[in-house]
Symmetry: C2
Subunit: 249 residues, 2 copies
């Protein structure tokens, strides 16, 4: 299979586009390709083209877009993963996995037990890092869409947003078995597929009782089996379950 | 929550049991607990006890088993994950995740594109390592059952075994979208839950056409969505989907 590169400005066959610096360096330094190489170029918005490298010089890599092609199909069930920011590089793995399986967007959330702040995220340029990871994962899994890494919300901000976005599809918030009397098992959710769903996953230390109570107003509180699932695996598990229940798989 | 320790010989309340060396060292050196500490002890076969450390000496840690308790419930859908051995320490992650979500057993498989051999596995004591990982993951996720790490099979051995074990439940082999005309989407599987299922996952390089053909006789060939999923994530995704479809979640 020809290697795939991300070029957001790629729009139509016949165009000559310059790859972003990182992509160009990947092409020349890692894969050691040059003029004449056959590659694929996708724009992150769903378009992909068979392409040929026309020039690979110090000032950039230029590719000529050829025939459009069909990339991996996007999921018809649109899942947004609202994920409490996890420790260390666990969040990187969550984003990589969510993009791979087919999430439409990822929303980082700062909860009561999240061990970071918006200022730390900003200072560490975490948003940029997460966007690079999303691009890299899209390249690997054959998607021509790069899911949006949405701006981080506080938990209160998320609840407020979901309150006003209720019509965009239901939200399900994953809770530990026994964490809330109002929780239903996953199998208790509607059988009919929604067109969109927001999956809300907590941090390593779980939700506070106050968060669970506040979320109960706008989210279905849902348990997934009786075992303790790791926070960094929960998103992938929940999206897999949603895809299975609502016939995306 | 009291820390949990694994002691296969723990059978009944009132007994005084010695923890295995590794578990004893974890108790004294990592958690720095001593005589009088309240702990939980599980035997890997489903029993768990509130317990108290009676002695923590150089020759071993002894605990007195108290009241039996209810550990995390085991899944009623029994999933065996037959997983092609992956590169490096990826297999460790697969085993950790499969135990966490609730698999009953894990069967390592040597396929045409597996980059290792039975001799290498033996020399590297991989089976011992995988068993330690299964114990460690069971401790974390609250299970009192440590899933079996079954003896590695060749792919041919697996097919032969499944042929004779057909009545123990269906096998589903995950294949790439487009890999086989005989493949069905996951949503095409029976709605009625089987009591047991074997999920067969290939290596990084995928199955050979010959393997897919041979498996078609004893397995349902199944695709999960249209994107390329990583081999090390496939097991967790497939078990999540099976739990969702067959109401374990």
């Amino acid at each position: 299979m020809h290697p795939r590169f991300f070029a957001p400005e790629a729009q139509a066959s016949g165009e000559l586009v310059t790859l972003p610096d990182e992509e160009g360096q990947h092409l020349t330094r890692v894969l050691r390709l040059g003029a004449g190489a056959a590659v694929r170029v996708f724009n992150g918005s769903g378009d992909e083209f068979e392409s040929v490298v026309e020039a690979a010089a110090k000032d950039g890599v230029r590719v000529r877009l050829g025939e459009p092609r069909h990339p991996a199909p996007e999921a018809s069930l649109q899942v947004t993963l609202a994920q409490a920011v996890l420790k260390g590089d666990k969040m990187d793995d969550v984003i990589r996995d969510a993009v791979m399986i087919g999430a439409k967007a990822i929303r980082p959330v700062l909860t009561a037990r999240t061990e970071t702040t918006a200022a730390i995220l900003e200072k560490g340029r975490r948003q940029d890092r997460w966007e690079r990871i999303a691009i890299s994962s899209a390249k690997q899994c054959g998607r021509a869409v790069v899911p949006a890494i949405l701006e981080p919300f506080t938990f209160e901000g998320l609840i407020d947003f979901q309150l006003h976005k209720w019509l965009a599809g239901p939200s399900i918030m994953l809770v530990e078995p026994g964490a809330s009397k109002g929780a239903v098992p996953f199998s208790g959710l509607d059988v009919e597929p929604p067109s969109a769903v927001t999956v809300v996953v907590g941090p390593e230390g779980g939700w506070t009782p106050e968060e669970i109570e506040a979320a109960g107003v706008v989210c279905r509180l849902v348990t997934m089996g009786g075992r303790t699932l790791r926070a960094d695996a929960m998103g992938l598990i929940a999206i897999s379950a949603a895809y299975a229940r609502w016939r995306e798989f």
